[in-house]
């Protein structure tokens, strides 16, 4: 027999930690419970009960988080959904494997594209400045896959605020979102400019900035939650990659075009995940977790910077040793993937520590 939680927010936090459900369903479930509890308290207060006593009665009637979590039998869905749910339940206990599995799956089309092109006797000579042709395909995939994968992992660990959370982040978070979002694009464009890939820089910058503005204007989504700051980013993927393909073709670098095209299915899959995650629109005010958000942003930025650095600095070094361009490209990509995996693996224990701290704070608050 467990003791009931003494506050509504305490119960919601406890449920958040105990429920083993897909994140979208959990958000909806918690929003419904929040609504139920609020309505119950209001009802009793209208009957003349003191608010504190009303809350106590409603919580006693509602049951403990453990009872609810135990009685919840996950819905049976189609295979992919069940597999994804199982993955989310499994990932927190196997952070290293999970961190390895996500990019591995995400990179199949990318490496597949390279492999098929090479196997078909494709021309792997680079028509443009080395390693500029590598930046767009590898970087674009790394950027978006890293963002979504990190977010998914961390969400499964501690339940991030929903996409439509009405709680909204603090002013500081808004400011950071504004800096970090366009900062990515600025970094990409500057990097391309640095390697004198002017056409790619222009092709990437124009639709990127445009889409960013459109998305922000739509409902200030970047400022609303880190969901938007990370998962909504794939909205950019397709126009960016199309631009990359066009620019690459214009630069007569066939290999770049093939690689960029190979990244499109990956981006599609990532966008699909984003759409699935964005489907739920709970009204609950998810607790704002500024430190977690900042930690994630910093980690993501650090991981991506590392990956970019590895691409830029290892490619010429490998090429200088006389390695073929294809081998150098694969080596650089593998190194970048390694950095990504390391960053993601680091994210999981950090998420756990954070979740433990949140539970501790909730327990203290509950008395």
């Amino acid at each position: 027999m467990t003791m009931g939680t003494s506050t509504r927010s305490g119960l919601l936090l406890e449920l958040d930690a105990k429920l083993q459900m897909p994140p979208g369903s959990k958000d909806r479930f918690l929003a419904e419970i929040e609504c139920h509890l609020a309505e119950g308290v209001e009802h009793l207060v209208e009957q003349g009960v003191e608010p504190a006593e009303a809350e106590r009665r409603v919580l006693a009637r509602f049951g403990t988080a453990e009872e609810i979590a135990t009685s919840f039998a996950p819905r049976r869905r189609w295979v992919a959904w069940r597999s994804w749910r199982r993955f989310l339940a499994w990932a927190p206990d196997h952070p290293w494997l999970a961190a390895l599995a996500l990019p591995a799956v995400a990179y199949v089309p990318f490496y597949g594209g390279f492999g098929l092109y090479a196997a078909a006797g494709g021309d792997c000579r680079c028509g443009t400045h080395w390693p500029g042709w590598l930046v767009a395909p590898v970087g674009a995939v790394l950027l978006y896959v890293a963002q979504v994968a990190l977010w998914c992992l961390q969400r499964s660990l501690r339940g991030a605020p929903s996409a439509q959370s009405r709680g909204g982040p603090s002013g500081r978070q808004r400011a950071m979102a504004l800096i970090i979002g366009p900062g990515y694009f600025a970094a990409i464009v500057l990097l391309l400019a640095a390697v004198r890939e002017w056409r790619l820089a222009g092709a990437l910058a124009a639709p990127g900035v445009l889409m960013f503005g459109v998305m922000r204007a739509r409902r200030g989504s970047v400022a609303r939650s880190r969901f938007a700051a990370s998962v909504c980013s794939p909205i950019f993927v397709l126009p960016l990659l199309v631009s990359a393909v066009v620019a690459s073709l214009a630069a007569t670098s066939l290999l770049t075009a093939v690689a960029a095209l190979a990244a499109v299915p990956t981006s599609g899959a990532v966008s699909g995940v984003a759409a699935w995650l964005a489907r739920e629109r709970p009204e609950g005010k998810a607790p704002q977790r500024i430190w977690g958000w900042m930690g994630e942003s910093s980690l993501r930025s650090a991981g991506l910077s590392g990956a970019w650095g590895l691409i830029v600095f290892t490619s010429p070094a490998l090429a200088a040793t006389g390695t073929s361009h294809l081998a150098a490209a694969l080596g650089a990509s593998a190194a970048a993937s390694g950095a990504l995996v390391a960053a993601m693996a680091l994210a999981a224990p950090i998420g756990r520590i954070y979740a433990r701290r949140q539970r501790l704070l909730a327990a203290r608050a509950a008395g």
Binding site: F29, A31, H36, A38, R61, S71, R75, R76
Partner: protein
Amino acid sequence: MIGNRVRGHLDMMILAVLSEADLHGYAISEELARRSGGELSFPEGTLYPALYRLEGAGLLSSRWSDDAARRRRVYAITAAGRKQLVAERTYWQRLVRAVAAVAGA
């Protein structure tokens, strides 16, 4: 009050309540309490797993409603849910008759 023993029949009771009106979670629990005259007692929170389960089985559908001051998830019974309710009621009546015959009520 009757507690845990009714949990196995919660699905049927939810379907029965929703067969007359579309309701949100809190209203369903209130209606269950009203119809049972306060005799049915189970943690209200366990209502939600049941609602999710029924929705997953296609017996209920749900939508967000902004009609009231508070945004609520409103549940409605589907055609499959109505068929299931008929079957559950028939089963329940048979069970009651059989148990009553044995127990001598």
